[in-house]
């Protein structure tokens, strides 16, 4: 496809778009005091006794969190990831009354395809850092120049250094509209959108809105679960007998999610402020709450240490801590919950092409038959053999290959 217009503003400097909207350069820079205070709190952690089981069925295990916290309080260095974040062009611009922080990385390849990529919870731009290079600079990663993307990586409202909304209404539909505005503001009238977790939901909602210029979406956590299946799930029925083997596998994983693993979402859907006090005041509270999901949702057999280094998990957690966004990010669940429904409910997308990669350890492995019912134009479907919910973070090379393959048919020439 044609790359972004060549007369677009140079985004490596602060500037103003043709419409007169300001885009400011941004640098991640926390104060030394904040880092000292974080270490002080970690050092004064008051611990519970260990769980009474030998597995994860009561939550994040004491023996896993103790060394993680010790590392966080003694050896972990936030400044490293801060430097890494600042090595990419970072910006802030106000959209719909809220400051939106984003990274914008132009590929050296002029014909690159613009792609909006949105992170999830408990994630941030940090979970996308490892795919920036392979996606923007494919020739250095065993792919062709024609595979290149220009990347726009916005931070969700209430997360990281984006603004914290002070009134209700920042639901996925509003976020999708804001991110579309961002793409236009950056001079990308034609682009694709990608995401997992909230990023998948934002991309799907965007596809439902189908603004002019949105060429296609790719999601790695598709919303495909049909209403008749949801009815069984809501009352924790066993898998209906008429389901195929693949559907049964998906059903059982969904049942596990809704029966055993839904507490965090119920809490944030219903009472984000209540859990917010814990996430604002206690590093161990926050680490446990997020580690629980790293363990549950990564392709690691419940041992996230197998796929993430301590530094990686702590980068992710520290960004939430240092921006005090535990409560404000939890509110994104409340906002979405006001409309009812769940994160995997089938999203009806009649026209916009949808590409899906199914990573095996995703919360549920979507069966193709469900996706075909939900998405009128399923342009790409691939079930890969490794990776979980945090696909871009866990398997950056495979994830990048998937995006190249998924969108290949949309490119010109």
């Amino acid at each position: 496809m044609a790359g972004g217009a060549t007369d677009r503003m140079e985004t490596s400097v602060t500037g103003t778009t043709a419409a007169g909207v300001s885009i400011r350069r941004f640098r991640f820079s926390v104060t030394d005091e904040d880092l000292v205070e974080l270490r002080r709190r970690i050092g004064s952690t008051r611990w519970p006794d260990r769980e009474t089981v030998s597995d994860r069925t009561q939550g994040a295990q004491l023996a896993k969190l103790r060394p993680l916290m010790e590392y966080w309080g003694a050896l972990y260095d936030w400044r490293k990831v801060e430097a890494k974040l600042n090595s990419w062009p970072q910006f802030i611009t106000e959209i719909d009354g809220l400051e939106i922080q984003f990274a914008h990385i132009r590929s050296p390849h002029g014909e690159a395809m613009p792609m909006l990529m949105t992170h999830g919870w408990p994630g941030s731009i940090i979970e996308l850092l490892k795919v920036i290079e392979p996606l923007t600079n494919p020739t250095a990663h065993g792919a062709a120049a024609a595979d290149a993307f220009h990347l726009v990586l916005p931070t969700l409202p209430g997360y990281g250094y984006s603004g914290k909304p002070t009134s209700t209404g920042w639901n996925p539909a509003r976020i999708a509209r804001a991110f579309h505005s961002l793409m236009l503001r950056l001079g990308y009238p034609r682009y694709v959108s990608q995401g997992g977790d909230w990023g998948a939901i934002i991309s799907e909602v965007l596809a439902q809105q189908s603004p002019e210029g949105l060429l296609a979406i790719h999601v790695n956590m598709p919303g495909t679960v049909p209403e008749d299946i949801l009815r069984h799930l809501r009352v924790f029925d066993p898998a209906p007998a008429e389901l195929s083997e693949q559907e049964k596998v998906a059903y059982d994983r969904l049942l596990h999610f809704y029966r055993d693993g839904f507490g965090y979402a119920a809490m944030m859907n219903q009472s984000p402020q209540t859990i917010g006090y814990a996430l604002a005041d206690s590093p161990i509270a926050m680490a446990a709450y997020y580690y629980d999901k790293f363990a549950e949702w990564s392709d690691s057999g419940g041992e996230p240490e197998q796929v993430f280094r301590y530094d990686e998990m702590l980068d992710a957690i520290s960004l939430y801590w240092l921006t005090n966004s535990g409560a404000s990010s939890s509110r994104s669940y409340w906002e979405a919950a006001q409309a009812g429904g769940g994160p995997f409910d089938a999203v009806d997308i009649p026209d916009v092409p949808v590409a899906v990669t199914v990573f095996p350890a995703e919360i549920y492995p979507a069966p193709r038959i469900w996706a075909e019912r939900a998405f009128g134009n399923l342009m790409y479907w691939h079930e890969v053999d490794r990776g979980g919910h945090f696909a871009a973070w866990e398997q950056p090379e495979l994830f990048s290959e998937e995006l190249r393959a998924a969108f290949k048919s949309l490119r010109w020439g």
């Binding site: 009561q58 055993d260 507490g263 009472s271 984000p272 209540t274 604002a280 161990i284 446990a288 535990g326």
Partner: protein, 403 residues
Amino acid sequence: MNDKSSGQASTLTKQEIRPFRINIAEGDLADLQRRIGATRLPTKELVADRSQGVQLATIQALARYWSTDYDWRKCEAKLNALPQFKTEIDGLDVHFIHVKSQHKNAMPLIMTHGWPGSVIELLETIGPLTDPTAHEGAAEDAFHVVLPSLPGYGFSGQPIEVGWDLGRTARAWAELMNRLGYTRYVAQGGDVGAGVTDAMGRQAPEGLIGIHTNLLVPALGGTMPTNTDEERAAAAQIATFQKSGEGYFIEMATRPQTIGYALLDSPVALAAWMADHDTDAYYKIARAFVEGQPSGNLTRDHILDNITLYWLTGTGATTARSYWEAYGPDAPAARQQPLPPPTIPFAFTTFPGEIWRTPRTWVEASYPNVIYFHEVDKGGHFAAWEEPELLSSELRAAFRSLR
């Protein structure tokens, strides 16, 4: 805390009942104050009501009072003025208050608190129940009162193995009453205490002659009839709770350890978690702190006595685990067949502010031998705490026919 057991070491036996006094170290209180003072708060909720959880203004007022006027030592003195004991049952130390009535024919009563409660929520019923003649009752209304702390709560032991579900606690309570020499007694409870009391009724240990609850346990799990307006209203209240207020319940039933870290490390996290129980109780607690307008006995000091007890005993995780044991899909109890409903006499009081307003028909659909039903005009989920005189008069009336 010191376990001031007065027994001689050489005569200690597992059956022994040891006197117990609370004596929190000054350093623990100073650490609590330091933590409250260092609280980092989130930004304010985006709504003007409880619909996003505990409001910032409530927590700010609570933390302010906690760090200025509140005095744990008063609560400690109040508890230590009561006869407190510990005894080991089924491998676990059980803490309990045991107050005998002056009246000889008093009826022995074991009352069980709930979550997020403790023996603190029952303290003001001791006077009316054990000394009715000083509280508008008659001598023949008197009870001997036994108030145990649930396993993992307060000064009871913290289980280090799975299996302390409602049924096991119920069996321990029967053993406790047996150990105290009570051969004919009744049991009462709300919230988790209702769950334990209900389980005691189903187990029907020798000597248990009747039970009273102020929360209809079978409505938590089963489907209740919705034929009348009253029934439909109650079902709608349950549905509202499930849609807007049961996040804490699901989290504790499935991830008690995960949330436990927060409840051990942050006083404000603990206070918020405990204040978020149900809509009626939340607004009463909020009014007590923000407007200085307590509802009944649910005063600022009493609310903080209870929260501080959880903090000082470090029981945030272990109390959460009691939900995992009772309601969690992965707990051993989830695989057990439930016992049939109790055939012993059952009594129930509906308090109007409870999560759902239980109709008589639901009580009769749940228990075959209902000897008492009454709907009173005030009080909510924490009935004994909020309206101790009223709950006491309900218990007198409920059990009168069994004397």
